[in-house]
Amino acid sequence: MKARVYVTLKNGVLDPQGKAIHHALEGLGFAGVNDVRAGKLIELDLAETVEDAEIEAMCRKLLANTVIENFRIERAQ
């Protein structure tokens, strides 16, 4: 069983990397980009027995820094 964990910066937290990407896109001539936020995707290959609560604990304890980041878990078969 696989799970995907999306880690993103919380609203209101400045994202210098997103800003730089935005700037670079504009430099390449892509108009119409209002904002860019960069995040991470972490793929977990899990034993069938791993419960949702455990994945959430993984996120809270390590995968995301909840001071600045949110996370979203997506389970896939």
Binding site: V13, L14, P16, K19, K61, L62, N65, V67
Partner: protein, 221 residues
């Protein structure tokens, strides 16, 4: 002063910190590998050095903060042992929850490596007693992720409780309220991005960092 310096895979300021501690206290610190679950008995000070522990994987300091030795560092800090985290050490201490907030990518995106001016905000702590309040000192920085962030309530609390030890005197990395170093609520843990251990003898180009270690020696013996 009996001190230890924690060494992680990827630490690169551990020896500089050890030299500074030896120079000032006259006593060689004990180097402790990150996989140790216990610290030597009777420590007065634990140094968490700069570098790129675990290659900054996931987030700067994230892996190191979860290594076995950090549980022992946390216990020691709870017992009142002084802890000094410099640069990556500061990142590790925030990731481990010993200090509030987080250190994000510099607002300029670029690695910043130069001497900076710091303003001493709190000269009453065990770490800063040899400085004058509002004194400007010069200490080098060398980091990519030094942009201190915390929510407004935390920042207000840090300011209100005098827990901002140092502020940048000019723009360096986008840190909230120009924060360069903070102290925990009990006053025995300091995290700072600049490197005082690289400014302890005239050959370094200055000695402003030395007084931090001298003050510590005086405060904790």
């Amino acid at each position: 002063m009996k001190s230890a310096v924690i060494v992680f895979p990827g630490s690169n300021c551990d020896r500089d910190l050890a030299v500074a501690l030896k120079e000032v206290s006259g006593r060689e610190p004990i180097m402790v590998w990150h996989q140790e679950a216990e610290l030597p008995e009777g420590l007065d000070l634990i140094g968490v050095p700069g570098g790129f522990s675990y290659g900054d994987y996931l987030r700067s300091g994230a892996m190191a903060a979860r290594s076995p030795v950090m549980r022992a560092v946390k216990d020691a800090a709870d017992r009142g042992v002084s802890v000094l985290g410099i640069c990556n050490g500061f990142q590790i201490l925030t990731e481990a929850g010993l200090l509030p907030g987080a250190l994000m990518r510099n607002s300029t995106i670029s690695f910043v490596c130069r001497d900076v001016k710091l303003k001493v905000e709190n000269s009453q702590s065990a770490f800063t007693s040899r400085y004058e309040a509002q004194e400007e000192i010069r200490v080098p920085v060398a980091h990519h992720d030094g942009n201190y962030t915390a929510d407004a309530a935390t920042l207000d609390r840090l300011e209100g409780e005098g827990r901002i030890a140092f502020r940048y005197a000019g723009e360096v990395n986008g840190s909230a309220r120009d924060i360069a170093g903070i102290i925990n609520d009990k006053g025995n843990v300091l995290g700072m991005m600049p490197h005082p251990e690289r400014m302890i003898e005239p050959a370094h180009g200055g000695t402003d960092g030395r007084r931090l270690f001298e003050g510590l020696l005086e405060a904790i013996g």
